[in-house]
Symmetry: C2
Subunit: 132 residues, 2 copies
Amino acid sequence: MNIGEVAQKTGLPAKTIRYYEDIGLVTAERRPNGYRDYGETEIHNLRFVQRARGLGFSVADCRDLLSLYRDRHRSSSDVRALAQARLREVDDKIAELQGLRATLDHLVNACAGDDRPDCPILDDLAGDPNAT
Amino acid sequence: MNIGEVAQKTGLPAKTIRYYEDIGLVTAERRPNGYRDYGETEIHNLRFVQRARGLGFSVADCRDLLSLYRDRHRSSSDVRALAQARLREVDDKIAELQGLRATLDHLVNACAGDDRPDCPILDDLAGDPNAT
DNA sequence: CTTGACCTTCCAGTGACTAGAACCTCCATG
DNA sequence: CATGGAGGTTCTAGTCACTGGAAGGTCAAG
C-alpha cells in the first residue's frame, strides 16, 4: 500500500508518516521503485501512535508504549505508570489553566470595552496594585 | 542598569531579555562599551510582557498589548477583545484536557497495573473495540 | 509521448526560548 | 600594572513535533 492510501485511511498526513519513519517510530518496507510499502501491521501501529498522541503522550512515550505493546512479556504496571504520569500532567495543566481562566475572566469583566482608553486589563498587566 | 541586574529584578533570564530585544519587543539603549543599559521604563515593559506571557498571551499578542499600552488614545475594547480571545482559547484547552483526563482516568482505573501483560490501556490504544 | 498525480529526498521554518562557544570589558586584588 | 573572575557581547545550533516547499523520479491513462 502506498503512503497516500495510508494517509487517507488513517487521517495522518503523509508528511507525518514519513516523519515517524525518520525517527524510527513506524517504519515501512520499500518496493523496488523506492516507494514505501505498508501492510496492515504498519497501519495498525500508526493508528496506535495516532491515538496515543491524541491522548497527549509525547512521541517518546509513544515509542515506549509501542514497545510495551509489542512485548508479550510486559507488565501492565509499566503501561499504567506511563498513563498515570500523563494523567498527572493533564491535571496539572488543567489546574494551571483554570487559574489563568479565573484571572482573565475577572479582567474581561472589569474592562468596559468601549472607546475610552481606561483599561483595567492593561493596568493589571502594568502591575498597578489598584487595578481591577 | 546592566542586563544581569534586570534579570535579577524581574526574574526573567538574561537570555530571554536579549531574545526580546532580538525580536524587537523590549529594546534597550547601549553604553559606549556595547553593554545594554536599562532604565525603569524598560524594566516596566519587561514586567508587563512577563505578566502577559504568564497569562498565556503569545509574544505576538504581547507586542499588540504593549503597543496598546503605550497608545494614550487606544480604545479599551481593543484590549478587551484580545483578552476575550485568549479566554476562549483557555476555555477550549480546558475542555480538551478534561476530555483527555476522563479517558486517561478511565483507562488507568481499568488497568490492573500488576506483573501480568493484560492491559486495557494498550488494548484501547490498539483500537480494540472490546477494550475497557 | 505527454500529462498529471503521486512518490522520493532534502532543506528550512514554526514558537519561545535555551545551551554553549568564543570573545570582550570591568573591577578588585596582589 | 598584571591578572583573574564575573559579567557582558555575538553567533550558532538545539528543543518538539511536525509542516511547507523545491527539485526530481515513477506510474497509469489518454
